[in-house]
């Protein structure tokens, strides 16, 4: 247990990846090495098409690892079978750019799907847990609304609640603020950061949003399928101060 606690949540060594076959085969990742400590919030930045999302899909066991080592919470994904893949996905909370809530379900039911994804029968207190989680993201009063009755920010908060309800060890987020205004975007990421701190979750987030950079513990930059730098937020933003936010407890930033 102690060994596992000291082990990084995410470890990538020598990861390369290709798309296509034959003459159309194209390498998109080149010998990537990256590790994310437990409780660490890491932003992954870089121009479109540089391979950020590919890394997320490989870490999320949504694609097969072709070359290199990818360990998620100690589980090696290279050559993993279907059972290991599903088990790995269940350790991860996914937050998507387009929230991907189910249209037929209420906010509460969408959050409950995060529990059902664990493959167990719903416990009697499942709804109480979901309501508590919705309260954490500030949506207790919107629990029984469908997504078409929620604003973009509220939908993204529901998606966050869904990602976190099963107490994941790792959160993978792909541009979660893309559809949000600056204030809402900052609030949402601050919330993720606070929960990461409270629950010891590791967060790897793909973002282009310069407004939230101060909330990262570390910022990793990519270009053309390669990692080119890893910096603290302060050095990345040119030491400009983070936007003031007195309403949310964002936690203390620790640079690893």
């Amino acid at each position: 247990m102690l060994a596992q606690a000291s082990m990084p949540a995410i470890e990538i060594h020598g990861l390369s990846h290709w798309y296509g076959e034959g003459a159309l085969k194209k390498q998109v990742l080149f010998d990537i090495d990256l590790s994310v400590a437990r409780g660490e919030v890491v932003f992954l930045m870089g121009p479109s098409g540089c391979g950020k999302t590919t890394i997320l899909t490989l870490l999320g066991a949504l694609r097969s690892v072709q070359k290199g080592e990818v360990r998620v919470d100690g589980v090696e994904l290279f050559g993993a079978g279907e059972k290991q893949v599903v088990a790995c996905r269940r350790k991860i909370g996914f937050i998507f750019q387009n929230h991907n809530l189910h249209r037929s379900l209420t906010a509460l039911e969408n959050v409950r799907m995060g529990l059902e994804a664990q493959g167990k029968r719903l416990a009697v207190d499942a709804d109480a847990r979901c309501l508590a989680m919705l309260a954490i993201v500030g949506l207790a009063d919107h629990a029984h609304k469908r997504q078409d009755k929620l604003s973009g920010g509220q939908r993204q908060r529901v998606a966050i609640a869904r990602a976190l309800i099963a107490d994941p060890k790792i959160v993978l987020a792909d541009e979660p603020t893309a559809a949000l205004d600056s204030t809402t975007g900052y609030e949402v990421i601050a919330l993720i950061r606070r929960l990461a701190r409270e629950r010891g979750m590791s967060v790897l987030m793909v973002t282009h949003d310069n407004r939230i950079l101060s909330l990262a513990d570390r910022i990793v930059e990519m270009e053309d399928g390669q990692l080119i730098s890893a910096q603290t937020p302060a050095s990345h933003i040119g030491r400009s101060p983070a936007p003031a936010d007195n309403s949310l407890n964002t936690g203390e930033v620790t640079i690893s």
Partner: protein, 391 residues
């Protein structure tokens, strides 16, 4: 948590997806109900044919019958030599027997100038052979030549005519060019082959059916003595009379043979079975269309669920849940509508069309299989939902 979620231990996603699109759901239910009605009507018509074919058989007080070996049904029953019947009467275990005559005759429908064809049964007036209520008491009166009993279940509106007979007015109409007086009524019902029937004495039968001869009856009615097994007696009779010109059967064999001829040797059963298949195919196509559209609409959500850790199996159960819902909610209105249609058909054609419980279960099973097949075809798309595409 909803009641369904508590019972299932999961969110009833299939149900919620269906009711989220009420119009589509209503169309799916209408499609399933339509298929159910088609199947019920085809099975109803087929069994109506089978039932009416042996409807007359079941009215006879007979243990054994003699018929022409080539006889197929009442309309094409043919004849056999009467001497075979006389030979049979001498066999050990036979109590009594009589010749029975069956033929189609022209008649003028009472109260109209319309002509039609009716089935005439001729038997000696003092030979009590019918189970049909009321006939035993009226049959002796048929010994008066030119008299008949009328089947009030005949196809057409004969209420006034039947009432006249019941009131003792003894109305007449023309049968095979002869004026026949109706002294009583009974109820048998029409069939696919005949509009209705009359019962006359053998003498009256020969008068209205000139080609019929006393020496060549259509059916030999034989009853066995108490304590004798009809099958054993039938074997004894067969040993004495069987040959090219007569066939000996117990009453149950006669009923089974008549029914089997239709179900196995005539194309009728195939035609109705084909109708049943068409109904099911129509249902499958409609349900595939509805479920495939639903799956296609929710493909990004299915992919998201896969990314979250749902297994393919748990997602497939959503589609099968929808199949089960369409089965139950489509079957019930289909059954109710079919019962209404049965009632309409019964009134229109004066033939028995029943809804036995085993048919209800059979069609429910067919509906479940239909929706299951449609679900299986539709859910292939679920397996193709790629979780990597949700990022």
């Amino acid at each position: 948590m909803s009641f369904a979620a508590r019972i299932l231990g999961r969110t009833p996603l299939g149900w919620l997806q269906l009711v989220h699109h009420p119009m589509r759901f209503a169309m799916a239910l209408a499609g399933v109900s339509f298929a159910v009605i088609l199947v019920f009507m085809q099975l109803g018509f087929m069994n109506m044919l089978f039932d009416t074919t042996v409807m007359f058989h079941k009215q006879l007080k007979a243990d054994i019958v003699l018929v022409n070996p080539a006889a197929r049904n009442l309309i094409d029953i043919r004849t056999f030599p009467r001497r075979r019947l006389i030979q049979a009467l001498g066999v050990e275990g036979v109590a009594d027997g009589e010749a029975f005559y069956i033929g189609q005759v022209n008649w003028v429908k009472p109260g109209t100038s319309d002509r039609g064809i009716i089935l005439a049964f001729g038997v000696r007036g003092d030979f009590d052979v019918f189970h049909t209520p009321g006939v035993t008491a009226l049959q002796p009166g048929l010994s008066v030549p030119g008299t008949a009993l009328f089947d009030t279940g005949s196809r057409g509106d004969f209420r006034a005519f039947s009432k006249l007979i019941a009131d003792g007015a003894r109305p007449t109409t023309e049968v095979a060019g002869k004026t026949i007086q109706f002294d009583g009524i009974f109820r048998l019902g029409a069939s696919f082959g005949s509009e209705g029937s009359i019962i006359v004495s053998d003498q009256t039968f020969f008068a209205i059916s000139p080609k019929a001869l006393p020496t060549t009856p259509n059916l030999g009615i034989i009853r066995v003595e108490s304590g004798h097994d009809p099958e054993v007696v039938a074997q004894r009779i067969a040993a004495v009379v069987a040959g090219e010109d007569v066939k000996v059967m117990t009453m149950q064999q006669f009923i089974t043979t008549s029914r089997n001829f239709l179900s196995r040797e005539s194309p009728i059963a195939y035609i109705f079975s084909f109708g049943v298949m068409m109904g099911l195919v129509v249902g499958i196509i409609i349900v595939i269309q509805i479920l495939s559209t639903d799956v296609q609409d929710h493909l990004p959500e299915y992919a998201t669920f896969k990314a979250m850790g749902f297994t393919n199996r748990s997602l497939l159960s959503i589609v099968y849940e929808q199949s089960a819902i369409l089965t139950v909610f489509g079957f019930v209105p289909g059954l109710i509508a079919s019962l209404v249609c049965y009632e309409l058909v019964r009134g229109a054609v004066s033939m028995p069309i029943a809804m036995p419980l085993d048919r209800v279960f059979l069609v429910f099973g067919m509906t479940a299989v239909m929706c299951f097949i449609a679900g299986t075809i539709a859910l292939r798309r679920v397996s193709k939902a790629d979780p990597a595409e949700v990022f």
